[in-house]
Symmetry: C2
C-alpha cells in the first residue's frame, strides 16, 4: 500500500488497480502524444478509436466471445438496463422469467412491470431475507429470456453455477462480478454490468448482446434506448463517456497482462474470499450472513455481536487504513467488497485487523 492510500473495501464505486490509476495520472495532460488530455480528445479521433477498439477486443478475448456477440458501452448504469432489457427484447405476446435474489433483481422486475411487459417471477429468496440463491427453479420453456442477478452486493450472495433454464437464454446483471471468473457463454443471451465495481469508474455500462436478441430491437422506440443504435455505431452514435471507457480499457489490459486472464483472476478471488470466510467461520465473534453454498466471492457480508461493535469496527478499521466496511444502509452490519482490483494484501491486512479487534472486544 502506498503511504497515503487506504485499502478500499467500498461496494462501488470501488478500488481500481493502482498501476491503472498511475498510468492515467502520468499521461493526464498529454494522452498518447496527442498534446491533449484523454478528457479533451475527440471521440472521432484515431486516439479514441484505438481506445474503444482495444477495449472491445479485450472484452471479446477475455470472455472468449464468438461472432454472435456484440460488445456495447451504454450510459445510465445497470439501472438503465433494467428498463432497456424488457423494452428491447419483449414485444407483444412475449414474456420473460425473472429470479428475485434481492434489491437489484427487485428493481429489474419493477422496471419491466412499469412498461406493462409480461414477466414471471419464477423464484425468489425473499422468504429468508435473500440470504441464499434459489435452487430447482421451474423456468418457463418458451420465455424470451431468463433474468438473474449473478452477484448480490447487498446480501452477499452469488450464483455459484448458472442455472439450466431449459432453453431460454440467460440475461444477467453482472455489475458486481463481471470478469471475476470464466463464463460458459453458451448460456447467455445478454450480460450487462455497470463498470464501477470490477472494471472501471462509474459512468459506463458494458452490454454484451447476442445476435438473435439484438434482432429483437424495435425500430419505434427512442434511438438512444435501442441496442441496435449502439451495435451499428460501435457505441458512438453520440459522444460516448470517453474517460470511463478509457479506464475500462486499462483495467482489462491489467486483467490480461498483469493478472493473466479470467482463470488466474478466479483463483485469486477464491483465495481472497476463502481467507476471509475461513477466518469468520472459525470465529464465534463474527458471523457470515449468507448461506454457505450461496456466498459471494465479491462481497463478504458479516455481523458482529452488536450494532455498536459493528460501528466500532468500521471506525477502527478506517483508522488502520481500511475503508468502506459498513454494510449497505438497507441491511446494516459489515461488508468487505473484494472485487478484482482488491489485492490479496488488503484482505490479509483486514483479517489481521479483525483478529485484533476480536481479541480486544470479544
Amino acid at each position: 500500500m502506498k503511504a497515503d492510500r487506504i485499502y478500499n473495501f467500498n461496494a462501488g464505486p470501488a478500488a481500481l488497480p493502482l498501476p491503472v490509476l498511475e498510468e492515467i495520472q502520468e499521461s493526464f495532460l498529454n494522452f498518447a502524444g496527442s498534446g491533449m488530455s484523454v478528457t479533451e480528445i475527440s471521440h472521432r479521433s484515431k486516439w479514441f478509436d484505438d481506445v474503444i477498439n482495444d477495449a472491445v477486443t479485450r472484452v471479446k478475448r477475455i470472455l472468449q466471445l464468438d461472432d454472435r456477440f456484440h460488445v456495447l458501452f451504454v450510459q445510465g448504469g445497470a439501472s438503465m438496463q433494467f428498463c432497456m432489457v424488457p423494452m428491447n427484447l419483449l414485444g407483444a405476446g412475449d414474456s420473460a422469467d425473472y429470479v428475485n435474489t434481492g434489491t437489484w433483481s427487485t428493481k429489474a422486475i419493477k422496471e419491466a412491470e412499469i412498461q406493462g411487459k409480461s414477466i414471471h417471477v419464477v423464484a425468489s429468496s425473499e422468504d429468508r431475507n435473500f440470504a441464499y440463491i434459489p435452487k430447482e427453479i421451474a423456468f418457463t420453456p418458451d420465455a424470451v429470456y431468463a433474468h438473474i442477478t449473478s452477484n448480490n452486493t447487498i446480501k452477499g450472495t452469488q450464483w455459484a453455477q448458472f442455472p439450466d433454464t431449459g432453453g431460454a437464454p440467460i440475461v444477467s446483471d453482472m455489475s458486481s462480478d463481471i470478469f471475476s471468473r470464466p463464463l460458459d457463454m453458451d448460456k447467455f443471451g445478454l450480460i450487462y454490468a455497470g463498470a464501477q465495481k470490477n472494471m472501471g469508474p462509474a459512468g459506463v455500462c458494458l452490454v454484451i448482446i447476442r445476435d438473435d436478441l439484438l434482432a429483437r430491437t424495435p425500430g419505434d422506440i427512442p434511438t438512444m434506448l435501442r441496442y441496435s443504435t449502439y451495435a451499428n455505431k460501435n457505441s458512438m452514435f453520440n459522444t460516448p463517456p470517453c474517460f470511463a471507457i478509457y479506464t475500462v480499457q486499462l483495467v482489462l489490459k491489467w486483467l490480461e497482462e498483469t493478472i493473466g486472464g479470467l482463470g488466474k483472476m478466479e483463483e485469486l478471488n477464491r483465495k481472497k474470499a476463502g481467507l476471509l470466510y475461513d477466518f469468520i467461520d472459525q470465529s464465534d465473534f463474527y458471523r457470515a450472513t449468507a448461506d454457505k453454498d450461496s456466498r459471494s466471492l465479491m462481497n463478504v457480508t458479516f455481523r458482529l455481536p452488536s450494532e455498536e461493535l459493528e460501528a466500532a469496527l468500521v471506525a477502527a478499521a478506517l483508522k488502520n487504513g481500511m475503508g468502506g466496511l459498513k454494510g449497505h444502509r438497507s441491511v446494516g452490519g459489515c461488508r468487505a467488497s473484494i472485487y478484482n482490483p482488491t489485492p490479496l494484501a488488503a484482505v490479509e491486512s483486514l483479517v489481521d485487523f479483525m483478529k485484533t479487534f476480536e481479541r480486544d472486544n470479544g
Copy 2:
C-alpha cells in the same frame, strides 16, 4: 502553452482549462485526503456529497437561478434529452413548438416524432443550409414549450437573443454554449447541455428544469427516464458519473474564481470570436459561412478557396501545435471551436498562423 500540449480547437470533447486538468492530475491517487482516487470513492460518501453539492450550488449561483429551478446531472448526453424532453413534458393533447436550425434540432424533432408526440416545426433555416437563425417566428400560444438549439456547432450559428415565444417556456439544447454568457432565466423552462464542450468531459449532461415542467413528469415511464427521479434524489437515484461531475465542479470553480463569472466570460468570448471573425472578414482568402447576425461565438466555421487548401491548412496547423480545425464531416470546410476554456492566446496564435498560411498559399 505547455511545451508538450497543443492548442485544442476540437468541437467536443474539447479543451478543458489547464489548471483544472492539473488539479485532477495532482490529486488523482488521493482525493481530498480520502486515501482513494476520485474514481474510487463511494457516491454515498461525504467526499462525493461535497463535490455534487458544490457543483449544484455553483450552477445556481452562476446562472442566478431562483428556487423554481432544479439542477440535475443525467447520463446519455443531449441525445438522451432529445427523447426525455417530450417523454416527460408532453402528455395526451399537449403539443410543443420546435425551431429547426440544423443537425441537432433535426435530431431533437425526430425523437419527439418517434414517440408520436404532437409537435410543430414553427421555423427552419434549412432553405439556406442552416446558415442563419430564423427571425419573426410565429410560435403557438398554448404550446407546452418551444424548443431551440441555442448554438449550432456544425453550421456555426447561435441565437444572439432568445426569442419572444408569447408565453411558452423555452426548452433549449445549450450543449455548446452553456455558461458562455449571462441568461435571462425568466424565458426558460428547461435547459440541457452535454458537458463535453463548455464544462467538462463527455459522460454527463446538465439539466436545469423549472418546477412547473418538473411537475409534468409522468409516473408510468421507466424510472431512469423521469426527471423527478433525479430531482428527488439529488441526481443519485443510482450511481452517478462521479468523475465527470467532479470535473464539471472544477470547471465551474475556475469559471467563478479565475474568470470572474458569466459577464467576464462573455467579454472574453466576444474578444476571442471578434479577433477571428474580424481577421476572416478582411481577408479575400478566408470566407465565414454563417450570416453575420447569426454567427456563433463558440464555433467559427469558414472556407478556403478549395478543399485541398482546407486540408492543407488543417495539416499545417497541427504541425504548428493547433489541433481540431477540420469542419464537421457532414459539411466539410474548417472550424475553430473556441469554447470557454480556449485561452485568448490560442486564438491569437491561430490568427497569426492563418495570416502566414494565406501569405504562403493565397
